[in-house]
Symmetry: C3
């Protein structure tokens, strides 16, 4: 299955999927640049008058609730209507949904318009969606990842969507199959936007291989965390340098690198 | 004429023009930093209550429709009223106007309040404004630049404004005179915001030399693309490093460098 | 007193204060990253539905008026109500308040809901709040810092808040005690966001030591300007490189570095 992932990674570069992003203004520049580094074509469009028509052109819609505005809320809903009518995958990052209950309402509102292909969050976000007790500080999870496989599988079945829970070990499941990605670096927590960027990259992979969304999600997490490992090796524990190298290493990451350096466990 | 351009470049540093920007939230930080690197003084102000009074203080108004918000739309209109009353040049970047028809409406609305000094877009954007068939993917042009000189000259006459079309070769015309700028690097397509940044830099040049807007536009494109060439030489095909070096090379770019390294063709 | 400052700096890393930021979209990514480099936990939340509940969880609220939106204006007011009810410190950066009079109205409106712990601005902003004549260009001060000690002390008494005025010499006073911080580098003026970032860092310090807000403000200014000096030493007068190194040097800045390299004058 790892081999299929490496092929999906190559497809991103070949197909250059257009990823329509409605995302937070804190890390939007990083999301656009990481999508370019991945080989995808990013477009950030949330004005309701624009989002409706635009979403029909996209290979995937990435929605991140990090700094929701009233305009984005309206834009998300019209974009979801369009994606549903055109069978375009929707990827949701419900940032801080455990701490900001309003975002759960927005998520429920979205699902009235479109099914979700993937919900990606950190441990605290996914646990809170699953109704588990959790510990978060603002947008950051303070939670251990213990027992996450089962929590994610149950949530995936209940919500009929792929669930990806990120942390030292990433858990990715469609409710039937489950994979663990063990690549990564603690430096991801020293910069803002790692979660947003990986959300964008998985959206690009799903956009390139919409018939294999579970494998595409794993591909996105693998490619991004592996680029992170390589960036960390160059960065000598400096978060600014790490941030910069991340784009460069994702840009140069090849199929063969994934094959050689991936640490995935297939459950 | 190249000599005049180098003098305009020096004027930016000397006069430190205040550039009022109403621009997208994806690349706004890059636009502010590149304006500082150019020697200008950026101010990003779009609240309608603020934009009206503020625009009167500026040397130029730079409007970029990349992520239009309802607030920006209102801010643009009051700012345009102010610039018209005070004879302040207005520079427009109609990002993705061929793909997002709403932006053409906004552009028409702007022109009811103020004349435009310059419209700067990529090949696909300019062609779509000219009513030509075009190929774009999201915010990116997939179009060849063939025949652009004539298309730009016609559009410039029809719209009574300078037209700058960017691509491997940049075309800059006021409908009468036409110049081609051949500096640049393919790495510009690997980062987000190159178009927004060069829009800001041309606005700074026009703000510093409002009596010579055509030459000032050429100056901005020359300075930015030349800084890009130098950054690419340092970046070894890494987009993150390229992005960083861009600010440094524009900051240190001197009059003499322009004179020596510019590749302009005067038609 | 310098020793107390170094202890506050250590506390930021130990307590990891949650800083709720309502700040401008130009430099918001830098503010989030510099807070992470300082050891704090940033959260950018301005939707009125979200800000009210969220502010109650924070150690400090940082409000920056750099690109005020109508949504932010509403979010600021509900957040201020919450902080007042929960005794949470509020730090205000009234960006360009001398040039954009609307922001003074917003500031007055804020103070109907919550007392301010600190107002931090550049020389021109603080002078304009004090009713002095001043010279600014857009968001930048062109003013000399002459006589600022007295101006700041009077303003602090009148407004019952700490005042920090930044410039080549920073002045920090609670109306009774006054300190001058002489660390820094001219490169701060060559990037956007230095003022916003230092505002965030002082908010983190106040969040970590709310019982000593004056010393905490000095700590924030010291740490940030010292990191700037070190970044400048590495950057060889290149603003892009300086920007990058800033995060790395703040991240590695230790208690002992502050003790050794601080240039503070206690008046």
């Amino acid at each position: 299955m790892l081999k299929q992932c490496t092929e999906i990674w190559e497809l991103v570069d070949k197909k250059r999927p257009l990823v329509h992003c409605i995302t937070n203004y804190v890390t939007v520049n990083d999301v656009a640049n990481i999508l370019l580094s991945a080989g995808a074509s990013p477009a950030m469009i949330d004005h309701p008058e624009e989002a409706e028509g635009f979403a029909a052109l996209a290979s995937a819609l990435y929605v991140n609730l990090g700094t929701l505005s009233q305009q984005q809320q309206a834009g998300i809903m019209v974009a979801c209507k369009t994606t549903a009518a055109n069978n375009i995958p929707v990827i949701l990052d419900p940032v801080a949904c455990g701490v900001v209950p309003f975002r759960v309402q927005v998520m429920k509102q979205m699902r009235q318009y479109a099914p979700l292909t993937l919900i990606k969050g950190n441990t605290a976000e996914i646990k809170s969606l699953a109704g588990e007790e959790t510990r978060a500080q603002g947008v950051d999870s303070l939670d251990s990842g213990e027992g996450m496989e089962q929590i994610c599988m149950n949530l995936a079945r209940q919500e009929s969507t792929i669930i990806a829970s990120t942390g030292p070990t990433d858990v990715i499941t469609d409710g039937r199959r489950c994979a663990l990605v063990k690549n990564g670096t603690p430096l991801f927590e020293k910069i803002t936007g790692a979660g947003c960027m990986v959300g964008g990259v998985t959206a690009a992979c799903i956009g390139a291989a919409p018939e294999e969304p579970w494998l595409a999600t794993i591909t996105g997490l693998l490619a991004f965390t592996l680029a992170g490992e390589r960036a960390a090796a160059d960065a000598d524990n400096r978060p600014g340098a790490f941030h910069l190298h991340l784009f460069d290493h994702l840009y140069t990451l090849k199929k063969e690198d994934l094959l050689k350096e991936a640490r995935v466990e297939w459950l």
